[in-house]
Assembly symmetry: D2
Homo-oligomer: 468 residues x 4
C-alpha cells in the first residue's frame, strides 16, 4: 500500500511550537497540516527548508485596517495593503476592527468591514467590534446576534473625545459582553488626565510631538487599568488590556491576576523597542513615532519583558495604525501641527515578527518557543482561533512561515508593503527573516515575493472560548 501523495511537503526544517522544537518535514493536504515526520514521502510540491525554521504564521490580534478615525481620517491602508504587509512579516492571521462611530448601526458597521476585507484580504481574519455608541439596541440586539455570527470580542476606548466610554456605559457593555460570551478588549487610559495635560501643555506653548508623550502621564495608564479591572471584577467578565506601556501598568495587571481575576494583556513592539526620546526630533518629524499610549522609558521596556516572561502579559500585537507622514495623515493639520492635531498610530504589521524574532531568537531573550507562544499560539488561544490557527499541529490550517534565521536585514521605508510610507524602526539591523509564507497551504509570500491574490483571505468566525 502506498501513501497518497501529500499536496506539499516542507522538507527538513526546524519546526517550533510553543512547546517543542525539532527537525521534521511538514506535509500539507489541502488547506491543513496532514503529517509531521521524518522522511515523509511524496509531496506533489516540495519546499526545501533545510537550515530554516518552520513556524506557525503569526497571529496579530490588534490592527487598524482601512479604518476611519474619530477625527475623520481614513488610515493609510486597505485590507489588501495591510494584509500583504502582514504576510511579508510572517503573519497569517489578523484581527482588525469593525469600528462603530456615534450614531452608526453596529450590524451595518460589521457588514461594511466584512465587505472591505472580503475584497482585499490576503490572509485570514476575524473582527473585534468597536463599540462607541452603546445604545439599548446595540447592546441588546446587535451584540448578541453578531457574537453568534462569530464576532466574539468587543473593543472599547476609555479615552479619545469621540470614542471614550464612561464608567456607567462601560458597565453596560461589560454586562452585554458577559451575557453574549464575548471578550472585552480595552484601550485603557484615563481620559481626564490626558485631556488636562494636553490643555496645560498647549496653553504653555509646548506643542511639539515630544509633548505627546508627556501628555499621557504615566498614571493615566495604571489608573485606567485599575478602574477597568475593578468594574470587570464586579461583573465577573474577562478582559483584555491592550498595549501595556508602563511598569506600573504591568504591576496592576500582575496584582489582579494574582487575585484570580480574568485579566489578559498585550504589549506591542513600540513599547519594547522605542522610548519617548524617539519622539524628540526636529520640527514635526517626531510625529512619525507618535502613538497612544506613547513609548516610555528603557526601564519600562525591561518591566514589560519581565511581564511577558512571567505570563502577566500573554501576547505582543502590532497595534498597526498607519498614517502617512503627509497631508493625508500625520500632517493633515499642516506641516507644523501641534501634537494634538497629529493622528496617533504607527505601522507595524510587517515588522512585529522580525523585531521580536531578532530580540527573542537571534539575541536569545526568552527563546524560540516563547516567540511562537507570544506571537501566534497565545493570541490564537485567547481569541479562540486555536487549534485552527497559532500552532503547527496535525489538522491545523497550514499557516506557516519559513524563517531564515541567518538572514540579516536593515529595515528601511522602501521594503514596507503597507501604505504608511515609512517605518518607525528604519535603520535597525535585524537577524532572522520570514522568506516564505503559507496561508492554508497556499504560498502567499514565496522567497520574498508576493504570490497572493487580493480577497483570498477568509473570515474566521469564532465564539468567545475559554478566555471569555
Amino acid at each position: 500500500m502506498t501513501e497518497p501523495a501529500y499536496d506539499l511537503i516542507i522538507r527538513g526544517g526546524r519546526i517550533a511550537t510553543a512547546t517543542d522544537v525539532f527537525e521534521a518535514d511538514v506535509a500539507v493536504s489541502g488547506e491543513t497540516i496532514a503529517a509531521i515526520g521524518r522522511g515523509l514521502v511524496t509531496g506533489k510540491r516540495e519546499i526545501d527548508a533545510r537550515g530554516k525554521l518552520v513556524l506557525p504564521g503569526g497571529v496579530d490580534a490588534h490592527a487598524h485596517i482601512e479604518q476611519l478615525s474619530a477625527a475623520g481620517i481614513m488610515n493609510a491602508d486597505t485590507f489588501e495593503s495591510a494584509t500583504v504587509s502582514a504576510a511579508f512579516g510572517g503573519t497569517t492571521t489578523v484581527i482588525p476592527f469593525a469600528a462603530q462611530h456615534v450614531g452608526m448601526n453596529l450590524r451595518q458597521v460589521v457588514e461594511d468591514y466584512h465587505a472591505l476585507a472580503k475584497k482585499g484580504a490576503v490572509i485570514d481574519y476575524a473582527f473585534h467590534m468597536i463599540i462607541v455608541d452603546p445604545t439599548k439596541e446595540t447592546l441588546e440586539e446587535h451584540v448578541p446576534a453578531l457574537v453568534k455570527q462569530g464576532h466574539a470580542s468587543i473593543k472599547i476606548f476609555m479615552t479619545y473625545d469621540r470614542l471614550k466610554i464612561d464608567d456607567e456605559p462601560l458597565l453596560d457593555i461589560l454586562a452585554a459582553a458577559r451575557e453574549s460570551g464575548a471578550l472585552l478588549c480595552a484601550h485603557a487610559e484615563n481620559h481626564g488626565i490626558i485631556a488636562w495635560m494636553v490643555k496645560r501643555l498647549l496653553a504653555r506653548g509646548y506643542t511639539q510631538p515630544k509633548y505627546h508623550a508627556i501628555s499621557h502621564a504615566r498614571i493615566s495608564e495604571a489608573e485606567a487599568f485599575n478602574r477597568l479591572i475593578g468594574m470587570a471584577a464586579l461583573i465577573d467578565q474577562p478582559i483584555m488590556i491592550f498595549h501595556v506601556s508602563t511598569a506600573e501598568g504591568a504591576k496592576v495587571i500582575r496584582d489582579a491576576r494574582g487575585q484570580g481575576l480574568k485579566v489578559f494583556a498585550e504589549t506591542c513592539p513600540q513599547y519594547l523597542f522605542l522610548t519617548a526620546d524617539d519622539l524628540d526630533k526636529p520640527g514635526a518629524d517626531g510625529a512619525k513615532w507618535m502613538c497612544s499610549p506613547p513609548p516610555r522609558r528603557v526601564s519600562d521596556q525591561e518591566a514589560l519583558w519581565q511581564a511577558l516572561a512571567l505570563g502577566d502579559l500573554q501576547t505582543v500585537s502590532s497595534d498597526h495604525a498607519p498614517y502617512r507622514f503627509d497631508e493625508t495623515g500625520k500632517l493633515r493639520a499642516g506641516p507644523n501641527p501641534n501634537f494634538k492635531q497629529v493622528a496617533n498610530g504607527l505601522p507595524g504589521l510587517q515588522v512585529r515578527l522580525p523585531l521580536l524574532f531578532d530580540a527573542m531568537v537571534s539575541k536569545g531573550r526568552l527563546g524560540l518557543e516563547k516567540f511562537v507562544e507570544l506571537t501566534a499560539t497565545a493570541p490564537a488561544k485567547i481569541y479562540n482561533l486555536h487549534p485552527r490557527k497559532g500552532s503547527i499541529a496535525v489538522g491545523a490550517d497550514a499557516d506557516i512561515a519559513i524563517w531564515d534565521p541567518a538572514r540579516e536585514v536593515i529595515l528601511n521605508d522602501e521594503m514596507m508593503h503597507d501604505l504608511a510610507g515609512y517605518t518607525p524602526f528604519a535603520g535597525r539591523k535585524l537577524r532572522g527573516w520570514p522568506v516564505t509564507v503559507l496561508s492554508r497551504g497556499r504560498m502567499i509570500v514565496a522567497d520574498g515575493k508576493r504570490s497572493a491574490e487580493a480577497g483570498s483571505g477568509r473570515f474566521l468566525p469564532r465564539n468567545g472560548g475559554d478566555a471569555a
Copy 2:
C-alpha cells in the same frame, strides 16, 4: 508676691492630651489656658473635677449644617441646633461646609454660610468650601481670595448627580488648591458604578433601603480612592479622603502613604459601629441608617480600627447630615420611597465622642491618648487649628470637655439636641459621658444643661498649614 487670681480653675481632674495623662488642675484666664499644675491657687470660679477626665473639646471636621442638598432638601439642623448638639457631645470645634451649587458664586456662598453660622453657632467653627462648579472665576479669583481669608480647605464630590466633579475639572481644582495652599477633601466614590448598580437594582424591583448598601459596590470606594490619589500625586497636592468605609479602601490609602504620598483620611462612627445589616428593616425604616458610603461589614470595622491604630487613618469625624424621618427629610418622596429617593445622611455630632469614648476608653480599644488624638488633636493639626484647638496646653483656647468616665447612658432619640428627631444608635448603652463643656473658657454645657447663647461661637480663619 501673690499670684493673680485665675478666672477659673478646674480642680483635680485627670487631664489627657494625645501624649500624656496626669492629674492636675487647669487654670483658665480669659479665653485660654493659663496654667496646668497641682495645687494651683485662687480661681475666681472653680469646677470640681475630681474623679473626672479633663479632655480637649472635640474637633469635628466633617459636618453638614443648615446645608441645602443637591436634591433641594435643607437638612434638619440650624447652626444653633447642630452646634448645641455638638457641645452636648463634648465637641467644641466644628468644620461644616459652605456648599456651592451649580451657577452659584463661591464668594457669596461663603458669605451666606458665615451669616448663618454667626447667628447660630455656640461653638467655634471653620468652613470647607464645597466646589461643584469650577469655573475659571471660581478657581482663579474666588478660591485664592477665600483661602487667604482663612478658608483653607476645599471639598469635592466624585459622585452624586448634581455634585460630581469629573477627572479633568478635578485636576483643575487640585491645581488651584495647590496654588492657593488649601487642602483638598473628597467624597470619593465611583459615580458610574453606583449609578449603574442603582439602575439595575431599581429595574429589578429592589427598592428597599437595604439595597442602598448594595448599590454602593465595595469597589466603588477603593477605585475612587486610587484614582483620586493618582491625580493628586500628579499634581503633588495633599488630599484628605473622607469617610473610609471598606478594608480595601483603607489598603489603598496605606499603600499610597507607604509610597510617601500626602494622603490623609478619616472614618466615621457609622463605619466603626454599624453594618449594612442595620439597613435591613421593615418598610422604609432602614432609611434611618442610610448614609453614603453605607455601613459595611464587621470585617471592615476591624480593618478600620486597625487602620486607625496604624495611623493610616488619622481621625474620626461624624459626617453629621441630619434628615428627619418624615416628609421634610427621609420620606420626602412619600412613606414608601425607593432607596434612591431617600436623602443620605445620619445625625452624628452629639454621639461621635460618646460612642468612641465607650469603645476606646471604657472598653479599652487603643486607649485614652489615642481617643484624644483621633477626635481632637489630629483633626486640629491636619486642618491647622492647632495649637489653638485640639489639645490641653498653656496658651491654647480653653475648649475643654469634662467627662464622667463612670456615667452610663443608654442612647435614645429624646436626648438628642439636633433636629433629626432620632439617632441611629438608639438603645446602645455607653459608659462615659461629657458632663460639662467649655468653649474658650465659657461654660456652654454645665452639668448636662445648656448654658450657651446662639451666636457665641466664632469663626476660625486658618491657612493650609503643614498638611496642605
Copy 3:
C-alpha cells in the same frame, strides 16, 4: 516510492501536548517518534487508540526509591517495584535521589544508586544528588565531576535532625551548584520551629499522628522559602522549591518571581487532594497520611491550584516515599508510636497522574494541555530532559501513555504496584486511566498488564540547562 514501514503506529487517538490537542496517528521507529499524521501507513505493529488520549508519559521529578532514611529505615520500594508502579500510573521518567548521609563519599553514593537502578528500573531515570555532608572534597571535587557526568541537580534539606543544612554551608552548596551549573532543589522548612513545636507537643502528651500536622507550623514553610530565596538571590543561583503546601508559601514564591528571581517550585497531589483532617484517625491509623510538610487546609488547596494556574508553581510531583503500615515502616517504633517516631512519606508514583487527570481533565480544572504541561513537559524542561522527554514530538523518545478518558476506577490498596501496601487515596473514584504505556517505543504496560523487564530503564544524563 513507498514509505518504509514504521515499527509501530498508534492509530487514531487524540494527541495532546502542552500546547495542542488534535487527532492523529503516532508512528514510532526504533525508540523515537518518527511521524505524527493522519492516515499514516504501514506500522509493523499497531495500537488502536480511537477514543483514547495519547499523552506524553509522565515525568515525576521527585521520588524516593530504595532510599535509606536518616533514621535508618529503608523505604518500601525497590527500583523495580517503584518504577513498575510509576508505569502503571502513566509515568515513564522518574528522578529519584542518590542520598548521601554524613560521612559518605558522594561519588560512591551515586554509584551505589546507579547500581540499584540499573538492576531494577523499568522506566528511564535521572538522579538528584542529596548532599548532607558538604565537605570541601564533596563540593570542590565530587560535585563538579558528578554534574559533568549528568547529575545536574542537588537536593538539600533545611530540616530533619540528621539531614539539615544550616545557612552558612547552604551558601557553600549554592555557590558550588552555581559553579558547576546544577539546579539546587530544597526541602525548605524551618527546622527550629518544627523542633520546638514537636518538643512542646510531646511534652504535653499530644502524640497522635494528627499532631504531626500541627508541629509543622504554617510559618515554618514560608519562613524557610523566604530565607532560601534570599540566599539564592545573593549567589544568583536558581532554585527549585519542593512540595509547596501553604498559601503563604506560594505567595513568597510569587513575590520572588515577580522580582525576577530564578525560583521554580512544585507541589504534590497530597497538598491538592488531602488536608490535615486526613491525619485525624483513631489510634495510629493517621500515620498512613503523614508526610512532610503535612497536608494543610482546603483554602491552601485552592491557593495551590491558583499558583499552578498562574505559573508560580510549574509542576506537580509525587514525592513518593513509601513506608509500609507495619513494623518495617510506619510502625517501626511499635503499634502506638508518637508522631515523631513515624517515618514521613506517602506512596504516590502510581496515583499522581490519575488523580490529576481526574481533577484537571475529567472535572475540567485547568484542562488537558495544562495537565500535560504540569506533569510531563514542565518537569522535563526544568530538569533538562526535554526535548527527549516530556512531549509528543517528532524525534522525541516514544514515551507515551494511552489514556482511556472514560474508564472509571475506584482506587484501592490492592491495585497499587509499589510495596507500601496501601494508598492514602483509597476509596476515591477517578475517571480516566492510563491503559497502555510505552517507554522508548517498548510497551511496558499493555492493556493494564505489565510487560516490562526489570533493568530495561536507562539513565538519562543531563546538564543543568536553562533552569540552572
Copy 4:
C-alpha cells in the same frame, strides 16, 4: 492665700511635647514637675529660658555601657563616663544591658551591672537583660523573678559567634518573655550569611574595614527580621527590632505591622547620617566607623526617614558601643587588623540628640514634636517608663533639657565626654545644642558644665506595659 514657692522655675521657654509646642514657665517641686503656666510666681531658684526650648530629657533605649564583649573586650566607658556624656547630649534616661555570657547566672549578671550603675550613673537607668545561655533555670526561674523586679525586657542576638541564639532556643526565649510579660528586643541579622561572606572576603584578601559593610549583605537584615517576626507571631509575643539599617528591612516591618503584628523598631543616627562609604578610609582608619549592622546607602537613609515619618519605626536610639581607636579597643589585634578582628560599635550617647535636632528641628525634617516623640516619648512609652519619663507633664520627673536652638557647634573629638576618644561625626556643624540639663529637678549640666555626682542616677524598675 499665697502659692507655696516652687523649688525651681524655668522661666519663659518654649516647651515641647510630642503633641504641643507653647511658651510657658515650668515649675518644679522636689523631683517632679509641679506646674506649667504663664506667669508662675515664686521659684526658689529660677532659670531664664527665654529664647530657649524646654524639652523632655532624651531617653536612649539602646546603649552598651561598661559591658564586656563576647570577644572579651571591655568597652571604653564606665557608667559615669557614659551617663555624663549622655547628659551633655540632653539625654536623661538610658537603658543599657545586663549582658550574660555563656555559663553565667543571669541573676548575678543583673546584680553586677546594678552595682556598676549604682556607683557611676548620673542619670536614671533601667536594664535590658541580654540572654545568651537560655538554660531551663535561666528561663523558668531567673527571667520571671527578674522581670518582676523591674527588668521587663530581654535582648537577644541572632548573630555573633558567642552570642547568637538559634531558632529553637529563640522560641523558648520568646515563650518565656510572653509568660513573664517582658518585651523581646533583638539584634536581628542572619548569622550564616554574614559568616559566609566574611569567610569568602578574608579568603580573597579583602580585609580592610570597608569590607565589613560588604560582609553584612543587605539580605542578612531583612531575612532575619522576617524570620524573627514569623516566630514572634507564632508565639504572639511583641518584639522590638533594634537598629534597622536597610530599606528592605524597613519594608518587612511595615508589612508585618500592616498585618497587625506587634512589631516595634528603632533606628540609630549612624543609619540616618552615615553610609558605607564612611568606612572607606586609608589603612585601618575606617575602623572608627565600623558598627553592626554597618551604615548603608543614601537611599536607605531616605527609606528610614520615611519609615520614621510613617510610624513603622518608632524611635531613634544611639546603640552607643564605644571602643577606643587604640590597642585597648579597635586596634586590639594590632595596627593593621582585618575587619573581623575589629570590635564593632560607635560612641553615640552624646551626639544622638544634637544630630537629630539639627536635622529635624533646625533643618525642619519632621519637626520639633516628632523629635521629642522619637527621642523621648516613644521610647519611654514602649519601655514603660512613661509617664515618669519622656514628656513634660505635671507629675512627671523633672528630666528636662534646655536647648539653645541658635547655638552652632562643630563636633570634634575633644568635646566628647565618653571615653571612646573620638566621634564618628567629627567635623559636622550642627545648629541647636542642649545647654542645661536636669534630672529629677537636679541640675546635671548647667550652662555647659557638669554638675552631677557619680551615682546620683537611679534605677527605674518597670514592667512590660502595653508594648509587652
